[in-house]
């Protein structure tokens, strides 16, 4: 896959190589008396693939939604590439490519129209949209579906288009909520390979509740249970991820 660097956002990087790209410090999210996430702190280094692992309802999606600006934290601070997501939301959002779990898309559009719209929405200048689309279409092998209406896409192609829209503005950070959810085995392997091919060049934060998937995709894993961070480990130094996970549960 071609190196995914474009000219239009390279001037925006203002974080030194050593600084973590994602910094969460004491982040909480409460709905009335119910805490979806409690005192969550985490750092993700540049180029790292970190996976949030936990059962449904553990707060993984809530954290991603706060990081991307869809939800506001009730307490704590969240920084993306040096920008606070609450105080500098536009600067933070420009640096993120996001694929929500439900893989939302506009059903009245064709694939090319959708990618062009998302590129413009994320700040790609009109003159650079064509090249940006060509880059992600090539990277995700979408050439034969470029003029297909969105409703006609299979689940696998929908996932690819969703990844393409997340990459089209060449973000520093990629946020993927359950990226292999609902895919067949071949599509899971393709998605995993894509994520691994981006590792080192993009900082990737993803969620999963499948241990085997985490083991093969992530550099580090953070376990979330009932809205609390239970532990963070390097995948390479944790030969038995299952045993470690059960010891925390």
């Amino acid at each position: 896959m071609a190196r995914a660097t474009g000219p239009f956002f390279s001037h925006l990087a203002n974080v030194s190589e050593a600084e973590p790209v994602i910094v969460a410090a004491g982040v909480s999210k409460r709905y009335g008396r119910t805490a979806a996430l409690e005192s969550f702190s985490l750092e993700v280094s540049r180029g790292e693939v970190l996976c949030l692992l936990g059962p449904n309802g553990s707060g993984k999606t809530t954290f991603l939604r706060m990081l991307t600006g869809f939800l506001l934290p009730s307490a704590g601070s969240l920084r993306v590439a040096g920008h606070d997501v609450v105080d500098e939301p536009m600067a933070a959002r420009r640096r993120i490519g996001y694929v929500p779990e439900s893989v939302p898309m506009y059903r009245h559009m064709k694939v090319r129209e959708f990618l062009a719209f998302m590129a413009r929405l994320r700040g790609v200048p009109p003159s650079a949209v064509g090249a940006a689309i060509d880059r992600v279409v090539h990277a995700l092998s979408l050439e034969d579906r470029l003029n297909a209406p969105i409703p006609t896409l299979s689940r696998g192609y929908r996932q690819r288009v969703a990844l393409a829209q997340a990459l089209v503005h060449d973000p520093e950070v990629l946020v993927l909520d359950e990226p292999t959810n609902g895919l067949d085995p071949r599509q899971i392997i393709e998605t995993r390979n894509l994520i691994r091919s981006l590792a080192g060049r993009k900082t990737i934060l993803m969620t999963s509740h499948i241990l085997a998937e985490v083991q093969k995709t992530a550099d580090r894993v953070a376990v979330l249970l009932r809205g609390r961070l239970k532990g963070v480990r390097s995948v390479s130094s944790t030969p038995d991820l299952e045993e470690w996970f059960l010891s925390l549960a």
Binding site: R65, T68, G69, F70, L71, L72, P89, M90, A91, R93, R94, I96, Y98, P100, S102, P104, M105, Y106, R107, H108, M109, E113, F117, M118, R120, L121, R122, G123, Q165
Partner: protein, 233 residues
């Protein structure tokens, strides 16, 4: 402004690929044509006052159908998550929704100018009330569409959004009737909020800035509330 243009184009594209816009336009123009022919043959008077009131009622009934999908559909399809995580202010998103629906209803009104042309060709209408009548309709539509968009921002259910908008429109329509039952200063407040009370003078040729101010200030308030609703995360 480029972001507003981008979002408005996307909204218009969505509007014209859905059957709702065509259905509303067809119903509106068919009913209006029927009423216009009937009125003209019955009265043989070259004015459009009756037509403007007919358009007032049709707008109240049909604008909720046009605006119900604005945010409700984005919420239902989870695409609101794409919009709200992009580097774009909530107010542009709201304004784009407003402009797309407003452009559509103004387009429908524009098609109705054929009746004015017919009157001009076969009679000698007083053009003043016709111009002010269209001004009244443009102001009315701004208010109705803004409230419809605001109601749509509250729910993911399109029927709830449409019913809520219709409820607000009817309450504003009959606010003066309720006002007469209330003590001062509530009576003045209710009468001041009356939709028909501000529409009627404009539609019959009496242009007051206070009437225009009523429509514009309520429209701005509704758009502001919709953007605040989106900013609630």
């Amino acid at each position: 402004m480029r972001m507003l243009a981008l979002l408005t184009r996307k909204e218009l594209h969505g509007t014209f690929t859905s059957p709702v816009a065509y259905t509303v336009a067809t119903v509106f123009l068919l009913v209006l044509g029927y009423t216009f022919s009937l009125t003209l043959f019955a009265t043989k008077v070259a004015n459009l006052t009756y037509i403007f009131h007919q358009m007032y009622v049709l707008s109240i009934l049909l604008v909720p159908v046009l605006t119900m999908r604005a945010f409700a559909e984005e919420r239902r399809g989870d695409t609101l998550e794409l919009l709200l995580t992009a580097p774009v202010s909530e107010i542009w998103i709201v304004l784009a929704k407003f402009l797309a629906s407003y452009a559509l209803i103004l387009g429908i009104y524009a098609l109705s100018t054929v009746y004015a042309v017919v009157l001009g060709a076969y009679g000698s209408p007083d053009w003043g009330p016709i111009y002010s009548g269209y001004l009244a309709l443009a102001l009315l539509a701004a208010l109705l569409v803004a409230v419809g968009v605001a109601m749509s921002s509250l729910t993911e259910n399109q029927v709830v959004a449409a019913s809520g908008s219709l409820g607000v429109f009817l309450m504003l329509w009959f606010a003066d009737s309720v006002g007469y039952l209330l003590p001062q200063p509530l009576e003045s407040l209710a009468v001041g909020l009356s939709l028909i009370g501000h529409f009627k003078p404009l539609a019959t040729g009496s242009v007051f800035l206070s009437d225009a101010g009523y429509f514009l200030s309520l429209a701005l308030l509704a758009l502001f509330l919709a953007s605040r609703r989106l900013a609630e995360r």
